[in-house]
């Protein structure tokens, strides 16, 4: 069945309608709001499948449908929809994962008083993300991008009565805004230098060869960068903010303050995926400067190194966290670093493949964590959990699958294949091998901290009252887990026995099988990570919640530093905050002494003339005026009776006076 690109708007419109329904029904309309949200998401999933079917018929084509949004004078601002395999795969993933998360939320948020608002926000979130995916214009993408930011703000701060949640929402919003400023500047610059923001426009779009050649031809005055590099880096700023890359990763772990389904949605399907998707979407622009050998900096090199730093940093910090959701959050930071790394080393197909597989198993892990938290009465500290494996068998089994997929346990799990693709691409990169080493180190750490999480949460015996009374959740929460777990395994088929997905995404790319030696190396590393994790945490489970962490006793300084997240929050408070207040005091000084001084001088002068004036006045002119002013005062008193203080009355008088005047003019005119 053929699905035209001009009808792509249906996909984001469906959840948007659900959000509108959710906004309009009264607070008691819980069933209607949640039903509309889930139904629209499932419908959007089927439409996306149809779109995918169409896109795969001709993977190389970029079917675009453009239209004029509004005319400004002679020019027009044009937007459009774009259907290609990248969009279609992402849409299918987002709608599928979101549907399951929505269903899971039915159970998780059951007792919440603002249940219907929650579904309204969730639908808005999904709608914004889907709009971002189908956009064929950087402007439309930016609009949806900001809507995603807004919805995430609403959802992270959903429990706004908790001060930490309100602060986290604010932090997420402001931090991403810093990146978005770069994005906006890049967007304006791009519009200024090309006159278009459409991606594909029959040869005139910004991602098409003619425009890119023109952009790479221009060189900036300073630094010798080409314009395309500068614009690419500015756009990358937006992706850094949204995808939680170093140095703007600080908001992502705090975003855990939202309800767990929101965390799953942010970390898996929508928010953070947006940044990776953006770079993959504008990949031709990002890589346009690759054809020039003599520029000082390629945009993608920056992307690769930022990704490598983020991957390693996130994995390191995750080792020392104790909150089940925070561990997963830092693992998301680390995995996003992998994706950026893959983009940077030139394999955007590997990045998107990892994005897809990661979406499934990270949603699975978060929903599993949500299931644990829900069962253990909102206990999130893994030191106080423990022994849940026997009580929550389905959650345990599915969580284990997710953990193995994330760690990259070989062959059976999708995470292995996508990670392998990234490592392979990093190996092939001829600029530097540092990102590869960072990636390999992160493989060990990922396996290690995930094993620790499993061992602490599900093995041993329960270490607190809450986890002792945990029991398995209802089917509405476990069925999504099972479905996601199945997907976490089945998605391996996209890459094995042949890299089918990557070929569909980019038919022009030559795909050779990955090197056997690299694969063996990464399998060994995974084994080392899991083995050491089990040796430290699994063999001898923690006895009570207070018993010390084996690693902490071994290297207390390092673990404490990592647990404090390497002090990034404090660093920002000390530098950015200081800088801001420094500028404020400087402005204050200028105001008080320089401008204020000038004003005071003027005032003194005015005072002096006033004194001179008064002297002449009192001594010469006064006498005659006194009697006149006495009479005027009398008249004034008489008139002031009319000032009743009733403003309405004044207005009525004005209106009636106007009527009389008009009548006078009209009747006078007819004479």
């Amino acid at each position: 069945m053929y699905f035209p690109a001009s009808h792509l708007w249906i996909i984001p419109a469906l959840p948007l309608v659900a959000a509108a329904i959710g906004a309009l029904v009264p607070r008691s309309g819980r069933a209607l709001a949640s039903g509309a949200a889930i139904a629209s998401m499932v419908a959007a999933f089927f439409v996306s499948c149809l779109a995918l079917h169409t896109a795969l018929a001709d993977p190389a084509a970029h079917a675009a449908h453009n239209f004029a949004w509004f005319d400004v004078g002679s020019g027009a601002m044009r937007l459009g929809w774009l259907l290609d395999p990248l969009t279609a795969f992402m849409c299918v993933m987002v709608t599928f994962v979101s549907s399951l998360i929505f269903i899971f939320s039915l159970g998780y948020m059951k007792e919440d008083a603002n249940f219907k608002q929650f579904f309204c926000f969730l639908s808005l979130f999904a709608a914004a993300m889907l709009g971002l995916l189908v956009a064929n214009s950087l402007l439309l993408l930016f609009i949806c991008w900001e809507l995603v930011g807004l919805a995430s703000y609403l959802l992270i701060g959903f429990w706004f009565h908790k001060p930490s949640a309100a602060a986290a929402a604010k932090k997420a919003f402001i931090t991403t805004r810093i990146g978005d400023l770069g994005f906006l500047i890049g967007l304006l610059w791009l519009y200024d230098s090309t006159g278009s923001l459409l991606f594909f426009d029959g040869g005139h779009g910004v991602l098409e060869a003619a425009t890119l050649t023109a952009l790479t031809g221009k060189t900036l005055v300073c630094c010798g960068l080409t314009v395309s590099t500068a614009i690419g880096l500015l756009i990358f700023c937006g992706a850094v903010g949204k995808s939680g890359q170093f140095p703007l990763h600080v908001w992502l772990p705090d975003a855990m303050e939202g309800p767990t389904p929101v965390s799953a949605l942010i970390h898996a399907a929508t928010m953070v995926a947006a940044g990776v998707f953006l770079i993959a979407r504008v990949y031709p622009l990002m890589s346009a400067d690759q054809v020039l050998a003599n520029v000082p900096l390629h945009a993608l090199t920056v992307v690769a190194f930022i990704g490598a730093i983020t991957a390693l940093l996130g994995a390191c910090i995750a080792v020392a966290q104790n909150d089940i959701k925070r561990i997963l959050a830092f693992s998301t930071v680390s995995q996003l670093g992998y994706m950026m790394l893959a983009l940077g080393v030139g394999s955007w197909t590997a990045a998107i493949f990892h994005l897809l597989t990661h979406a499934f198993f990270k949603a699975l892990l978060f929903l599993g964590a949500g299931s644990v938290i829900h069962a253990a009465h909102h206990e999130q500290d893994i030191r106080r959990l423990g022994g849940l494996g026997a009580k929550m068998k389905i959650t345990f089994a599915t969580f284990a699958i997710g953990m193995m997929a994330l760690s990259g346990v070989p062959f059976l799990f999708s995470g292995f294949w996508s990670k392998e693709g990234i490592l392979h691409a990093a190996h092939e990169w001829d600029v530097s091998h540092l990102p590869l080493y960072a990636g390999l180190a992160a493989v060990v750490l990922t396996a290690f901290y995930m094993t620790r999480l499993m061992a602490e949460t599900f093995f041993g015996k329960s270490r607190s009252h809450e986890s002792g009374h945990a029991h398995e959740n209802s089917a509405v929460m476990t069925v999504p887990l099972v479905l996601l777990a199945a997907c976490a395994i089945l998605l391996s088929l996209l890459a094995w026995p042949s890299p089918w997905l990557q070929h569909q995404l980019d038919p022009s790319a030559h795909s050779e099988p990955g090197g056997i030696s690299l694969m063996v190396l990464s399998i060994v590393l995974v084994a080392v990570g899991i083995g050491s994790g089990w040796a430290i945490y699994g063999r001898k489970p923690r006895a009570t919640e207070a018993s010390p962490d084996p690693l902490e006793t071994a290297a207390p300084d390092i673990i404490a530093a990592l647990a404090a997240r390497l002090g990034f929050d404090e660093l920002y408070a000390a530098t950015v905050g200081r800088l801001n207040s420094g500028f404020a005091s400087l402005a204050d000084f200028m105001e008080r002494w320089i401008w204020g001084g000038a004003v005071t001088l003027l005032a003194r002068f005015g005072e002096f003339t006033g004194v001179v004036n008064r002297e002449t006045d009192e001594n010469t002119l006064n006498g005659g005026f006194d009697s006149v002013s006495h009479q005027i005062r009398g008249t004034g008193r008489a008139y002031s009776r009319a000032q009743t203080g009733d403003a309405h009355g004044y207005m009525r008088f004005i209106a009636l006076g106007f009527v009389v005047l008009m009548l006078f003019v009209m009747l006078g005119g007819s004479r």
Binding site: S640, T644, G645, M651, R652, A655
Partner: protein, 103 residues
């Protein structure tokens, strides 16, 4: 009835709605909003006469409306600040009670 006349009828009705609101309601905020409506009605008139007038290129109507919007915005800002100041003094914003300066 020509389209110009329709526009003018629209604007005069809007003006009168604003006027009645300003005269009938006691809440100062609503009175201010009524005044805003009257300004908007005047703007509609300007645009209508520009649209059907003889000299489009001069754009006088549009320019006038732009200035008028700027003035309306400052009026709203100052007016609402006044409302807040009044509220602070008399603990309510009933216009008929803000008559301390009467003669």
């Amino acid at each position: 009835m020509s389209q110009l006349q329709l526009c003018l009828v629209l604007s005069s009705f809007l003006f009168c709605i604003g006027l009645i609101g300003a005269m009938a309601r006691s809440n100062t905020i609503l009175v201010l909003l009524g005044v805003e409506l009257m300004l908007n009605a005047a703007n509609i008139n300007f645009i209508a006469f520009w649209r059907y007038g003889p000299d489009h290129a001069a754009g006088t109507g549009i320019l006038f409306v732009l200035f008028s919007i700027a003035i309306a915005a400052s009026e709203a800002a100052v007016g609402l600040a006044l409302v807040i100041a009044v509220y602070r003094h008399q603990k309510n914003i009933r216009l008929q009670e803000a008559n301390r300066l009467k003669g």
